[in-house]
């Protein structure tokens, strides 16, 4: 039995240690906001925060999480930057199909946490690993800048 801290709550899960965190979230804890895309750390849809860092949960085994706090898309709105990003996302109507967007929001929030006023190059460096098949990249960039402006 493993005890995880997810979105501020303590959750017990009975799973093998080598199970990817993404499987645990979706199949064992019904936190299905985090999506499964490529399974090989190449698309970014499974991004969650572990100890404040954006991490691809498809590659992180649950046994390696330890006591580090996990935040998923379900909990990100309760963080200051997460709330700002979500609001900016709605104002800019960023999503198209929406599949990639949980991952985009998690990466964008981590970016603002580390760098409150990112320029275009900073946004590229932080967001390049999050793919969007619908090509919402331009709106994502605008929404990140709007959220940053609100932080200032």
């Amino acid at each position: 039995m493993l005890t995880l801290t997810i979105n501020g709550q303590s959750r017990d899960v009975d799973v093998p240690e080598d199970m990817p965190l993404l499987w645990v979230l979706r199949d064992h804890l019904s936190l299905v906001g985090t999506k499964y895309g490529c399974g090989i750390a190449q698309c970014g849809v499974c991004t969650v925060h572990v100890a404040g860092k954006p991490v691809r949960s498809c590659q992180l085994t649950v046994g390696d999480v330890g006591t580090r706090a996990i935040v998923t898309i379900e909990g990100i709105g309760s963080t200051p930057n997460g709330a700002k990003v979500q609001k900016a996302w709605m104002e800019a109507a960023v999503p198209q199909c929406g599949y990639c967007q949980a991952g985009q929001i998690m990466s964008a929030t981590a970016l603002l946490d580390a760098n409150p006023q990112p320029d275009d190059a900073d946004i590229d460096a932080a967001m390049a690993g999050n793919l969007c098949r619908c090509g919402t990249y331009i709106r994502i960039r605008r929404a990140i800048k709007n959220a940053a402006a609100k932080s200032a």
Binding site: D18, Q42, A121, D122
Partner: protein, 454 residues
């Protein structure tokens, strides 16, 4: 005039003999230790050949299985995706391609008809049942140190495998390398054709390690440079060389380029799992050696191997000391900040999510780049190969996985990202070109047709 010609000829002969002598002196892999050796029968220390004590009373086949792992027969005798031990693995050499053969007990295409004597001749002397000579891609000049009993235990194990009908693939060698008979001369020069002789000046543990490293694991076949005749040149024993498109690193005790600054714990951890924290993990051929062979050794044998490795004289090679501090957290800072924007872009999209801009992975210690020898190798050979082929290993510590990017990225892309990674996280940035990467793709023995994913 005649006198001058005579002198010139004499000089040439002396130089040639001297050179042959030099090559010959590089033949013995254990002479560095000095001391005196005795025939196994006259050695009164602990048992240094065979299986470890735990398995001493196991049946012949079980013992053979352990020794088959220790000798790592499987890695070379299995084609990518093919049946284990059925051969067909390609060795891409400068003078052509040699394929490993089927060593399952199939009577037509395998070794099913081999008698004990024939099997020993193949293992010790490189001679096939039909009398033809094997190419030294089969490391018989190392296996020659194996005892008859151990070789025959391996045979007993191999004979319990399901026979697979897999005819040998035709070697493609240019003349004169296609002439097997020429190997007679090579064998006289480079195959000692003698069994392991324990060194009475060293501990039983050292001797066990020597037996495992030389007679069984044949570490030198990848880690020792070869001479002009493609035989191991033990003047640079274990100093590292390029083998099958991958760099087998310097595993001597040199502090800068070798294993001098590895702790005993690092060494045994790497040998038993193919990974040591702070030094990174094995990929490519060493990954296979770890998974198919080294990870099966019992802890006492791993320690014996480490003891032996520790005794190898330091031999400096052209590798810099590894950088053990992480890179800055921001992509804007650090050595490669604006050196290579294409490499940086690829790193941002495909690599940073696991390896992080610091090189210290937030996901798993297996993905940390800081301190890894391959990243601190200014040729970037193994970085490029790892990017091309990925890593897909199952260890007792869990699965180690990195996608294979070879099919999805161009040679220029792979060169750019390898140059970026070595500059940002290593001691010195590489300057690979797309052409170099294309050559590395050719040289690697293992060409996985499909990128493994998920």
């Amino acid at each position: 005039m005649k006198k001058i010609i005579g002198i010139v000829v004499a000089v040439i002969v002396v130089v040639a003999l001297g050179f042959a002598g030099w090559l010959y002196l590089g033949r013995d892999p254990m002479s560095f230790a000095g001391g005196s050796t005795v025939a196994l029968a006259d050695y009164h220390g602990a048992d240094v050949t065979g299986v470890p004590a735990q398995l001493a009373s196991a049946d012949l086949v079980k013992r053979g299985e352990y020794l088959t792992h220790a000798a790592d027969c499987q890695a070379c005798h299995t084609a990518p995706g093919g049946a284990p031990f059925a051969g067909g693995f390609a060795f891409n050499m400068p003078f052509g391609t040699i394929y490993s053969t089927n060593i399952t007990p199939d009577k037509q295409t395998g070794i099913g008809k081999y008698t004990d004597t024939q099997f020993l001749a193949a293992v010790h002397k490189g001679i096939r049942a039909d009398g033809a000579k094997l190419y030294p891609a089969m490391p018989y000049s190392s296996y020659t140190y194996m005892t008859d009993a151990d070789a025959l235990a391996i045979k007993a194990y191999l004979f319990t495998l399901a026979p697979v009908n897999a005819p040998a693939r035709q070697n493609q060698l240019s003349w004169p390398f296609s002439q097997r008979s020429l190997l007679a001369l090579w064998n006289v020069m480079f195959n000692p054709d003698e069994r392991f002789r324990p060194n009475t000046s060293e501990s039983p543990q050292w001797n066990r390690g020597a037996y495992l490293a030389e007679a069984m694991g044949h570490c030198g076949d990848c880690h020792t440079p070869r001479n002009l005749a493609f035989a191991l040149d033990n003047h640079g024993k274990f100093a590292g060389t390029l083998t099958a498109g991958w760099r087998a690193y310097n595993i001597t005790g040199d502090n800068v380029s070798g294993l001098g600054d590895w702790s005993d714990e690092d060494l045994t951890s790497y040998l038993s799992t193919g990974h040591a924290n702070g030094h990174g993990g094995a990929a490519g051929p060493m990954g296979e050696a770890a998974d198919d062979s080294l990870s099966y050794l019992v802890p006492d044998d791993t320690r014996a191997l480490a003891t032996y490795l520790r005794s190898i004289p330091a031999h400096a090679s052209d590798l810099p000391r590894t950088v053990t501090t992480a890179a800055p957290a921001s992509y804007r800072e650090g050595v490669a900040a604006d050196a290579n924007s294409r490499g940086e872009k690829i790193f941002a999209g495909a690599c940073a999510s696991c390896h992080d801009w610091t090189g210290v992975s937030p996901v798993t210690g297996f993905a940390t780049l800081t301190g890894v020898r391959a990243v601190n190798d200014p040729s970037a050979t193994n970085v490029a190969q790892t990017v091309i082929n990925g890593v897909n290993r199952k260890t007792t510590d869990g699965r180690i996985f990195m996608p294979a990017f070879g099919a999805g990225y161009s040679d220029d892309d792979i060169a750019a990202v390898a140059n970026y990674v070595t500059a940002r996280f290593g001691a010195k940035g590489a300057d690979l070109t797309g052409k170099d990467v294309s050559a590395l793709r050719q040289q690697a023995a293992q060409q996985s047709k499909e990128a493994p994913n998920g």
